[in-house]
Amino acid sequence: MSKEKLSSGLKRIRKFFPEFVVKKRSQRPSLFGSQLLGGMIVRIVSVLLGLVLVAVIFIMNGINPIELYVNIFSTAFFTEYGITSTLTYFIPLLCISVGLAIPFRAKIDNIGAEGQFLMGTIAATWAAFTFAYLPAYLLIPIIFGVGFLAGALWALPVAIFRVVGEFKGSDVVLSFLLVFPPLYLVNYLVSGPWRDPEGWGFTQTAKIPENAQIPTLGNTTVHVTIFLVVAITLIVYYLVVRTKKGIPKTKLGYEINVMGENAEAGEAAGISYLKIAVITMLLSGGLAGLAGVGELAGHLLRLRPEISTGLGFTGIAVAWLGGLNPIGILVSSIFFGGLLAGGVEIQIMGMPFSTVDMFNGAILFFVLAAEFFMRYRIVWRRNK
């Protein structure tokens, strides 16, 4: 087909569709919360659309989505096992996602949270065994501190690279590549120097000393870190996100928002991009590390390769679904926690657990697409 024929053919097709024009909304609602109700509705619709898309794919693969969804939902929220499982996932997920929201608001993309999480677990394991002689009320804060520090330091290169690196997405590549060394380091440590001598050869460490173990609620797997992370969520909200009429009330929150919206304007106004990058990444990495400590000392109680379940990546979807707002993230973490908890139903129906990722991805796509509809109006104009 010649070029002329192709373009005239396209022109003829266009004539049939009413021409539409995309106009930017004159009053740009901030994604981060001022149009709260509209934002929530859009998000709920995104989730539903994501579920629909995945349902369609399931049908194409011979699986009954309705049955599956009902199973997931009822297992996650209506069984005792499900609720505890949901909450157990909720703890690290909330922590990581709130941490991710901070640099994301500054348009700094930390996708290495998985690696920072793992560095937290490694550091916590080390501290738990090294300082085992300390009483619990000293030891537990120490391992939290060490885990936070490890995650934060591991995130630092990303901040530097973001500012200094010359191509967009350099921070993304670096932060992702930085996931692998900790992953392999865990493998190395638990199959070698840190392997449990009485562990019958399993690749895992010994159980961490009693003093280091975080108490749980009752007989469940829900450890009291849950209170810590909720507190952290509220603190982050208060210190970083809280806004009045769309403008953050704290200096840090304000600077983060500005650098996220328009970095050059911010620099011209005297905000140092490096400072913001470093602060946000340190907080983000630290919180991811903290989540790691919780998982290690509260949930698994020993270091194993399986401690990494992709929460660092799920957290990205959680953070976005929550509108990069800690309060919204609280809700979306419960949702995703439930999805992961109910995900065991997916396995029962014969699919690999990773299929849950399809939900994550689809929802993230729709949340992203929904942003479009929040910022732009489509004006329909009939073609003459």
Binding site: G165, G169, S170, Y188, P352, G361, L364, F365, A369
Partner: protein
Amino acid sequence: MIIEFVGSSIVAASTFFLIPTLGEVLAERSGILNLGVEGIIISSAASSFGATYITGNVAFGILVGVLLGGLLGLLHAVVSITLNRNQVVSGIALTIFGTGLSGLLGRGFVGTTIRPVEPIPIPVLSTIPIIGEILFNKDILVYISFILVPTLWILLFKTRFGIKIRTVGENPAAAYSQGVNVIMVRYACVIIGGMLCGLGGAYLTCAFNPSWTEGLTSGRGWIVIALTVVALWNPVGALAGSYIFGTFWVLQFYFQGLGISPALMSMLPYISTIMFLIAWGVLLSQSKVKRIVGAPSALCVPFEKG
């Protein structure tokens, strides 16, 4: 003998990196960062394997993988181009989605085998000692990768369309004012890029390592993104980078035999890439050769008409 064996492995492994990197180079040259590469590769790998298993026809299987790659690329294109959203998040969503999709698509085929693509020795060239075995006794996808490098190079640097692509990547506003259809160019590049990633995934399960398990790529697709930087957004650079990386990849297994811990050796390719990125970043900030060494200026910047 051993040289031929190692060399062959290196060529085989590098091809897996080369094909998707070429695709990503194309996409990024038009200004779109596609971080969904890992998701596309692994989905296509699963689907190709499954399609080959079901139909018994490996060519069909590869085609399925390529088409799926294009489709997934289209998804990213719509969100990044038409809807003009954050390309990083869109790419990550695609990766997450694609990884989950691969588990679903591949679920019936774990542990099964297929008849893979057969090596095709090239008549005269494959009789050359050593090199003949390494380079010219491989399967057709490897040969395709050899052809793709100069093809893409010519496309990007010697054709009108290539100029359009590069202008769109450097300064889409200027291109638009010159009458270039920025949207179409970007869509084309992203979709073709996706198809090449799909081809890479198909290569993995239909030629290189004919099997399927969950998570088969173990994150190797992400290396493609780093390789695009290493390649300096140039097909020839992609060839060099892929082969260097392929060499590291193959050698890590041999070093394990020497008693160095496998886990530490597995880190090596990633650490070397990180080192390269850092060195490159430092180099870039100091040098005036930014145009040669640097990224397309409009990479990852959403393009808004008017």
